[in-house]
Structure formats: C-alpha cells, structure tokens
C-alpha cells in the first residue's frame, strides 16, 4: 500500500501490466526520456527499453494509425495523445478504423489498444488544453470510454483497459492528476469497465458525475444537510444505466454534472435514459450542471465556465425544491 496521486497510480499500473504482458508497448510524443509532459510515463523507457516505450514524430493521426496496425499485428499499444485538444487530428483513424475494425471484419481483425489522454480544464493551461470531448467518442460505436476520478480507480480501471480486447480511450482528468492522494494497493486488482461506483449513499437525490467533477460534487454534498447519493460513472461507455436507474428509482431526483458543454453532452443521454426507466418515480426534471455551449475560455475565465460546488449546490437545491 502506498499513498499515491493519480499520475503515480497510472505509472504503477503501466509498470505492473508491462511486466506481466510483453504485448504492451507505449508510444507517443515526449513519453520516452522526458517521461511525458505530465510525467505519467516517467522512467518507463529506462525500465523497459526503447522498443517498448518510444517517442514518435509529432503527428497524432500517425500515432493512432501506427497503433492500429500494431494492434492488428498482435500487440496492445498504449498511445498517449498529449492533450485532449490534439485528438482532433487522430479522429479519422479512431472513428473510421479503430472503432470499426472488429465489426467490419466480423471479428477477423481486432484493435486492442488503450489511448491515454489527459482531459479537462482547471489547470491554467493554454488554449486547446482544457476541453472535455468524452461524449464525441461515447457516440462512436466500437469504442469504450473511461474516465477515473481517483488514484485508486485510475489504477484498477487502467489495468482492466490494458486487458481489453477492444479500443479504449482512457481519459485522465488533469485537474486531479496531483490534487488527490490516497492509498493505492501494490497488489493486483481490477475494476470492471461499464460499472459505476456509488461514492456515497443517500435517499433524497442522486448526483451522476465522472472525472474531476466528482470532486466538486463531493464538496457540494459535504455542504448539504440532505441525504445525497453520488454515482461516479467511471466508464462513460458502456454506460451503467442500471446503476443510475436503480438509484434514481430510489431517490426520484437527479442532477448530472460534467465539464463538457451542455448540448449533446453525455448528461443529455443520462437524462433521456432516466426518463425512460424512471418516469413514474421522478419527482422533478433531471437537472444538469455542465460546461456552457460556448468555447472553453482561456484560463482567466475557466473557473466561471467549469461546474463548481456552488453551481452543484444550486442544482441540488432547485431539484429538491421542485
């Protein structure tokens, strides 16, 4: 057991799985000697050698396209895209090839691959370094989309991703890369993809969130005198609709919280599913606390854009008062 932050937990998961499975190969920009711009792959090249941890030319489509070939050839590549804003150039390879290869070949070719991507705002980063595009990829059949909210979850979920037979985008919320430390077992454990976690139980209202927003939700819950259940999705797709429906059937009220823009954010899907599954139990419309339908501002205004405990508290209040 060690007290680790999210960066260290991911680093540990990579080391332990790479020691077990020589199919795992890491590639990306600045991940070798430099250990990645966030130091997630620190010392891995020294430990595993240049054939297993290597720097690529600066071309995201190239990184993903190369990884697809590697995966079709029997490896489990772990490409790092340095920031979520740079997923754009790789979109075609991810959506047109990685996501479709299994089904378009009816299983003859598969693309087991874990794409690691730092995601989200709140760290005073430059332009295009603070977005939250998870819904875009959750909308793409054939992909799995994961976003942990704690070091413990990050390790357990990443180990599962590294054993997956399908392409996964593993989003790492950079706002909490170093903000939280917790006990993370050295011993092997996995957390299943597609299963949400009940962070705290409650009976009055359900909050559904994921990634760094879970921390803002916890703050709001601590300030509230009502009994609130918090569900951390952990995996955006496959979406654990049963866990959400079970909770909302119990509480009758739900607030969804995410950093991504409101319209077509994954909260919209959650609200629709709750309407379908819990229509008769609902006491109030589902409330959403999300980024606005505006371009993520530069960092002077990023805290005005991102959901915070205050906005979550207001939504809790409104939903309970309905």
């Amino acid at each position: 057991m060690a007290n680790l932050n999210l960066v260290q937990a991911i680093n540990l998961a990579l080391i332990q799985e790479m020691e077990k499975n020589d199919s795992i190969v890491l590639l990306g920009e600045d991940i070798g000697v430099n250990g990645g711009v966030f130091r997630v792959t620190e010392n891995l090249q020294k430990r595993f050698g240049g054939a297993r941890v290597f720097d690529t030319p600066l071309a995201e489509s190239g990184i993903i396209g190369l990884s697809i070939g590697m995966a079709m050839g029997g490896l489990h590549p772990v490409p790092e895209i340095q920031f979520e804003g740079f997923l754009g150039p790789a979109y075609d390879q991810i959506v047109s090839h990685a996501a479709r290869m299994r089904t378009r070949t009816r299983g003859a070719y598969t693309v087991p691959m874990t794409i690691r991507v730092p995601v989200g705002g709140g760290i005073h980063a430059p332009e295009l370094h603070s977005d939250s595009p998870e819904a875009i990829y959750a909308h793409t059949p054939g992909l799995k989309v994961v976003m942990p909210s704690s070091p413990y979850d990050a390790k357990g979920l990443l180990v599962s991703c590294l054993r997956e037979e399908d392409p996964v985008i593993f989003f790492e919320p950079k706002r909490i890369y170093r903000a939280i430390r917790e006990e993370v077992p050295e011993d092997e454990y996995t957390l299943p993809l597609g299963k949400a976690r009940v962070v705290c139980e409650g009976t009055d209202l359900t909050i559904v969130s994921w990634g760094a927003s879970v921390v803002q939700c916890m703050q709001a819950i601590e300030q509230s005198d009502r009994s609130i259940e918090l569900i951390d999705l952990r995996t955006i797709y496959p979406f654990d609709v049963d866990a959400v429906a079970a909770s909302v059937a119990k509480t009758g009220r739900c607030v969804v919280v995410h950093e991504a823009p409101l319209t077509c954010g994954f909260g919209a899907e959650i609200a629709a599913r709750i309407m379908e599954r819990c229509f008769l139990q609902l006491e109030a419309p589902v409330q959403r606390v999300a980024g606005f339908d505006a371009t993520m501002p530069y960092y002077k205004l990023e805290l005005d854009y991102l959901p915070d405990a205050k906005r979550v508290s207001r939504a809790i209040h409104d939903c309970l008062a309905y």
Binding site: I68, L75, R104, T105
Partner: protein
C-alpha cells in the same frame, strides 16, 4: 562563403517491356521464369474478366457500387508475386489482382461490394488487410503491422498501395515520416493512374513525379511503368530486398491508368477525352504480356481461347459462392461490435423489432408484452430465421 549543394538527387524511370514489344534483356532476362509468366498472365486475365462480371452484376442489381481494376492489373500483381507469402499486403480498393494472387478468395471481394462485412474477414489468413475505404489511411497500418512483426523478431515487411490522389492526404505523409524515422521496412507503392475520380493528378501534385515525394522522407525512390509487369516485378524486388535488409522504407511510383470509370457510379466521359483513354488502351498490361508470350512461342491464340473459358468458369464459381452464402441474421450487426456485447446493446438487439429503444419491456402492461412477443415471432418467420 561559396554556396554549396546540401542535397542532390534524381528519379530513375524503369521500363523493361514496352507497349511495342521492345524488351530490355539486361534488366528483364531471368526476372520471371516462363512458367510463372504464364500463371501471372492467367491471373491478370482472370481479374479483368471478374471486373466485367462484377460490372454486369452491378447493372442488374446483384452487387453494389464497384470499382473496376481494368488497366491496373500489373501493379499489385507484380508486388504480390515478389513478396513473401507472409509479408503484409496492405491495399486500398483497386488491387484485386495482387490480392487474388496472394490467395484471397474472389468471393471475399465480391461479398464486400455486395454489402456484406463477411467478405472483409477472408483476407486475414493471407496476411492481407481488408479493403480500406477512407483514402490514404491504411499506409499507417502497414507501418504498425510491420513494427509489431519486428517487435516479435519476425523477418517481415509490408507493401502498401495507394493512389496519386491519396498521396495528398495527411496520413500518407505521416506514414512516410513514421516509417522512415522509426526505421520500419514498408514498401510504399503509389499507383499513379492519373485520375482521382475527376481530379487530374496535376491537382494532386505539381511536381514532375509522385516518386519524388519519398525523397522528403529520406527514402530511395523509383518510378516504373506500371503497365509493364516486368517493371513492377523488378521494382518490388529491388524495394523489398532493400527494405528487408536495411529495415527501412522504399518508395515506388507505378505509372498506370484507370481504363474504367472510378466506380460503377461514375461516368468518366464527363471529365476526360476518349483519345486519352485510347492511348492508354494501347498500353494495356495484359495485351503486352500476351504479345510477348506469343512472340516467344510460349502461348497461342488457341490457348487464350481455352483460358477465357477457364476463367469464366472460375469466376462463375466465385459468384455462385458469394451469392450462395446465407444472408446474415438480421441482428448480425450487433454481435461483433465488442468482444462481449455490452448489456445495453444486447437489450437493443433483443428488442429491435418489438420495443422502442431504451424502453424497459418489463414496465409494459401484460397485454403489450404479449403483442410484442407475437410481433417478434412474425418478423423472425418473415426473415426465415
């Protein structure tokens, strides 16, 4: 300071058997044994004939949009002939001749264009990748496949095909850059067939050759007559030996011509002159080999007639196999999305004909549940399942 030359290069062009029957003994002698040449010729004739069959099938509604290979048979065939059977062949969608030589069944290609994904499964055991539709993306996969093989200590290279139009795509340049910088042995083959649908090659490159695109990435580059099977074999031999020995990529431009429309949905008369097409018909790769073989008494018109009968039968058999495969189950498209079908997707599959999406069937009144079950069995019966 005097101005010096930082870099200088030239692009060589290779032609061994030209359209008039002139043969370069120095380059061509012993390159392809006579017995092999006959087989290669038969493969080209078979491929050309399948084009005609597929065209007729499309016109009569038995096959969807289809891109003909006519005129370009010698490019991929030359490469497939030279490559080892377990080298990766990573193609686009106009390389049937090479794929068939490799052993990919003809019904695989037919099934793909008949709108059936099961065709894409068949290239797998032949170290060939399925048809790639998004333009210019598959060259990166060739690099990745070869990198994986090298990582496992296998002596394997890849040969990847793309057109003059695809060489404008960003992924083409990234693939060249990755393969070169990371020392991955990939033979890049640009099939310059002069037309990307209606876009002439000069809009895709203002440079005198496509071959020179490789220079920017430090690759040896070569331009060959792509309608000359001897030249495509010669070039692939040179390139694959270089790639294998040095673990580095090589770039070949094969100059050829798309004699047919882009696909059965295209009408090339809208954008190119018949005179140009006629000029290229005179350079046909198949006629050239036939004349060469007849001149050397390796082949006769009588044998040609017999061959046509054989390939017609062979292709009819392939069509029968493609059309004889039972239709996929109506929910087949759900089942290969993931290694395990996620629960929510399974729900969508299992209620696709009975419930609105997302609805929990257990919440329906008893009467509605019974009606749904009845509807489902009727649909099953109508589909013959």
């Amino acid at each position: 300071m005097p101005i010096t030359t930082a870099f200088e290069t030239k692009i060589e062009h290779i032609s061994i058997l030209d359209q008039h029957g002139n043969f370069d003994e120095k380059l061509g002698k012993g390159l392809i044994p006579d017995a092999d040449l006959v087989k290669l010729y038969e493969a080209m004739v078979g491929c050309r004939h399948l084009d005609e069959v597929a065209f007729r099938m499309q016109r009569s509604g038995r096959l969807g949009t289809y891109p003909q290979n006519m005129g370009q048979e010698a490019t991929s065939l030359g490469a497939a002939y030279v490559l080892r059977q377990d080298d990766w062949l990573v193609t686009c969608y106009r390389e049937n001749c090479g794929l068939f030589w490799r052993g990919v069944p003809k019904e695989a290609i037919l099934l793909h264009w008949m709108g059936d994904e099961r065709g894409n499964a068949m290239p797998r055991p032949h170290f060939a990748t399925p048809i790639a539709v998004p333009l210019g993306t598959q060259m990166l996969h060739a690099a990745g496949l070869t990198l994986a093989a090298r990582y496992r200590g296998q002596d394997k290279i890849a040969c990847t095909f793309f057109g003059d139009g695809a060489s404008s795509e960003g992924d083409f340049h990234e693939a060249c850059n990755f393969a070169s910088n990371l020392e991955i042995p990939v033979v890049f083959v640009c099939q310059n067939n002069f037309w990307a649908i209606s876009t002439p090659s000069k809009i895709n490159s203002a440079a005198p050759t496509f071959a020179q695109r490789g220079i920017a990435y430090g690759m040896p580059c070569l331009q060959v007559d792509g309608n000359d099977l001897f030249a495509t074999v010669y070039a692939t031999k040179l390139a694959s030996e270089y790639a294998r020995k040095n673990s580095k990529p090589y770039f070949i431009e094969m100059v050829t011509y798309r004699l047919a429309d882009h696909t059965t949905a295209d009408d090339a008369k809208r954008y190119r002159d018949q005179a140009e097409v006629d000029m290229w018909k005179a350079r046909d790769p198949i006629t050239r080999i036939k004349n060469y073989m007849i001149a050397r008494k390796m082949w006769s018109e009588a044998q040609d007639v017999a061959l046509l009968e054989r390939v017609a039968q062979d292709n009819a058999d392939a069509v029968a196999r493609a059309e004889g495969i039972a239709a996929p189950h109506r929910n087949d498209f759900f089942n290969s999305m993931y290694s395990d079908v996620p629960a929510d997707l399974a729900r969508q599959r299992d209620t696709m004909h009975t419930h609105s999406l997302g609805q929990d069937p257990s919440q329906l009144p008893q009467e509605a549940q019974e009606r749904a079950a009845e509807m489902d069995s009727q649909t099953e019966a109508a589909h013959g399942h």
